[in-house]
Amino acid sequence: MAGLIAGRLAGLLLTLFLVSVAVFAAMEVLPGDTASARLGTQATPEALASLRAELGLDRPAPERYLRWIGGVLTGDLGTSFTYGVPVAKLVADRLAVTLPLAGLALALAILVALPLGTLAAARADRAPDAAAALFAQGALALPNFWIGLLLILVFATTLRWMPSGGFPGWEAGIGAGLQALVMPAVALALPQAGVLTRVTRSAVLDMANEDFVRLARAKGLSRRRAILRHALPNALPPILTVLGFQFTFLVAGAVLVENVFNLPGLGSLARQALVQRDVVVIQDVVLIFAALTILVNFAVDLSYLLLDPRLRARR
């Protein structure tokens, strides 16, 4: 167990190092910099030069990389060129939106997909299965930003039950915060629930055809009990793997939905930082995405150990 964690930690650090080099290099190659973004059509060579000197952009690339990564290693994420505030504060503010949103969406997806997928497997090739398949196909086919627009049209502009977008901040109260996140979470969750329903169905169905489930049935267990007691628990590892992917997708890939609902999440920060060439922010955000992805996958691996005693024994 300890060996596994140490190995993963080393892998994490190596990956983060490679990611840091890659993102730094990518920003170097990209045309334009924050000085040109700030001066726009009024940029003159002299103004560009003095602004670059002021921001330290005229220093050689290795020096700038070391200054950035040295700061990150000592816990200093640097200062945003655009906003002039510490990146750590910017990112913390955005994570306070993005993580609850992703968590809420994932919870919704699980709440819908797990029962529905299991039901579909239990009643394979009958009406509930067909209904679940229809739901999954439909949910998958609808782009999440479009679902978002539809939700806004119905619940915000027509019925006026919900805010049309924006985020009041958690200090406005948990209720107000959650209210702002409900519609975006539904929009994000639906396609994910579609995927998860399909995965759950086939994973449970695979297990239902295994010998141990047949044995359970032969011993006189009802099909329903056999599935809930024996097939479903054993179907969890593949479902968890997909969940891990989905969580990282929800954190990193929510940009479109954040845009529709005008949520100040990590995705919109990354987008704006890119437009403004706020390189320190982009580099930090990419590093955080990478770290988050690795950590989530690690958590998924650990959960296999919890779910499957055989893996623990082998170590």
């Binding site: 990209l30 045309p31 334009g32 910099d33 924050t34 040109s36 973004a37 700030r38 001066l39 726009g40 059509t41 009024q42 940029a43 060579p45 103004a47 560009l48 003095s50 602004l51 002021e54 655009t82 906003y83 002039g84 505030v85 910017l90 503010d93 955005r94 627009l149 806004i152 049209l153 119905v154 915000a156 502009t157 027509t158 019925l159 006026r160 039950w161 805010p163 049309s164 977008g165 924006g166 985020f167 901040g169 845009n259 529709v260 609902f261 005008n262 949520l263 100040p264 919109s268 920060l269 704006q272 437009v275 403004q276 060439r277």
Partner: protein, 505 residues
């Protein structure tokens, strides 16, 4: 689809009204007019100091609200006194003596006097200044605080636009103690001060209780700016009442729907945003004026405005808007005439046309215009290839700085900026002695008639030579709650001056 929903909505509202009658809702607020406003903007400002960065979004939040200048520009585009109550100009036009307002303090308590005014101007014109409009003060030889309420500015040659330029967001008054941190903690002499800036979402202003100008005190207690990029989200925010006003609504195609809605007042105003398709006059075949003229004649501006901006917007024939001083309508100089354009191309040696690329920023007006230009130029045999170019960073690097382009398209936001065609090595690569002389005369002429005449000449030279395809002036698609008054209808300078905004009973 619409019907049952509307019915449901009516039911919901009826229920809400019933609840309000029972005292459940927040019925109390209905009686009094509101004292705050939520203003929507498409683009969030990058920093809040208009003296160090060019994006117009900065001025649209802080100019007149947080920061003030020696002079200001009002909603009709006139120059008005502000921190300078009055001024005298020496007969030779070289010495400006400003009489400054007294008992003025910055929102941090620091008093404003001639010393602070001198500091602000000197900071703007310093060698290492990154002020985007530094050139405004290029003629200034010295600034002097003669006494606490008298500022004297001496010029090397007359500057006819000085009072206009001093009114710009880039020329606002700042004080030494807070100048360096204005980007995040703006401190000005204005009627509001910064409440909170929640980056990526909203910014609040609160009334400055120590505001000096009782005659011009704001009616609102505070204001919130919300930044909503997506046009659909903008419309939704208006319709759900989350945002009270979008002074510059983002999507012309959604605007018609708001125009018919009684809850909103919609005002199509004029701006200073000139959409021009810049040509690289340095390279073949665009160095031949006949070729540029032929391209201009291939463009049907009215159809372009129709396609790119749903018909809102005013065609222009030069780099000048109808609200600029001494405007001349020059759209007829190279009016739409594909026949003549083809003949002119043949005369210039391109009977079969040629290929051209256009570096096109991602903004909707630019991409749509480029697509329409592509179709129009195809009519005279010119094959236009659209090259997406991210604005501002990549565009500034490739087009503006390295001149690595053939054709491009962008809106120039600065008011009265026709002089950019006389700038050495600006991106058009246009260099014309006559034009430079006309601009010099306009900018230094003390006689108003001569000045307007010179601007007329400058417009005509550009219309004739076509250093860029002059297309149209963007409209200001204003939309706000019908109970709001006092928002600017036009935009003589990019701004959201909230000083006189209020709610009707």
């Amino acid at each position: 689809m619409q019907n049952p929903l509307t019915r449901l909505a009516r039911l919901g509202r009826a229920t809400a009204a019933a609840l309000a009658l029972l005292g459940v809702g927040t019925g109390a607020t209905l009686a009094q007019p509101r004292s705050d406003i939520v203003v929507g903007m498409a683009i969030e400002p990058a920093g809040l100091d208009p003296t160090v960065a060019a994006p117009v979004a900065i001025g649209q939040v802080v100019w007149q609200n947080v920061f003030e200048g020696l002079t200001r520009i009002d909603g009709e585009g006139r120059i008005q006194p502000q921190l300078a109550k009055s001024w005298t100009v020496s007969p030779d036009g070289l010495v400006y003596t400003f009489d400054l307002a007294e008992n003025v303090t910055f929102s941090n308590g620091v008093p404003f006097d001639a010393g602070t005014a001198k500091f602000s101007l000197d900071r703007m014109r310093a060698t290492d200044s990154t002020n985007p409009q530094k050139q405004f003060l290029a003629n200034v030889v010295s600034t002097e605080a003669r006494d606490p309420k008298t500022l004297v500015v001496t010029l090397s040659k007359p500057a006819a636009n000085l009072l206009f330029w001093l009114a710009w967001p880039a020329s606002v008054m700042v004080e030494p103690g807070s100048a360096a941190t204005n980007r995040t903690q703006p401190v000005g002499t204005g009627p509001f001060k910064l409440g909170e800036w929640r980056q990526g979402d909203r910014l609040t202003l609160v009334r400055n209780e120590t505001y000096w100008n009782a005659a011009d005190a704001p009616k609102l207690d505070g204001a919130t700016f919300r930044f909503i990029a997506d046009p659909q989200a903008q419309a939704a925010a208006l319709q759900s009442g989350d945002v009270d006003a979008f002074p510059e609504f983002g999507a012309p195609e959604l605007y018609a729907g708001l125009e018919t809605d009684d809850r909103f007042e919609t005002v199509v105003g004029v701006t200073e945003l000139k959409v021009v398709a810049g040509l690289n006059n340095r390279i073949k075949p665009l160095d031949d004026p006949r070729v540029r003229q032929a391209l201009m004649m291939a463009v049907d501006r009215a159809s372009l405005v129709e396609g790119a901006y749903s018909g809102y917007g005013t065609p222009i024939g030069s780099h000048y808007t109808p609200n600029d001083p001494g405007f001349r309508d020059l759209t007829a100089v190279h009016a739409y005439d594909p026949e003549k354009a083809r003949a002119l191309l043949a005369e210039a040696g391109y009977p079969d046309g040629f290929a051209l690329s256009i570096k096109t920023p991602q903004m909707a007006y630019a991409t749509r215009s480029a697509e329409i230009l592509q179709a129009m130029l195809a009519e005279i045999g010119v094959t236009l290839t659209i090259v997406p170019t991210e604005f501002p960073a990549a565009w500034v690097d490739q087009v503006l700085t390295r001149h690595d382009f053939e054709m491009t398209i962008v809106a120039h936001a600065e008011p009265l900026d026709i002089a950019i065609y006389g700038r050495d090595n600006y991106y058009f690569g246009y260099d014309d002695a006559q034009f430079k002389a006309a601009i010099a005369s306009a900018e230094t002429s003390l006689d108003e008639e001569k000045r307007l005449e010179a601007y007329g000449t400058a417009q005509e030279i550009l219309a004739r030579d076509v250093p860029a395809l002059f297309l149209f002036v963007m409209p200001k698609l204003g939309v706000w709650d019908a109970r709001i008054e006092g928002l600017w209808h036009d935009e003589p300078i990019p701004a959201n001056d909230l000083t006189s905004v209020s709610w009707r009973e």
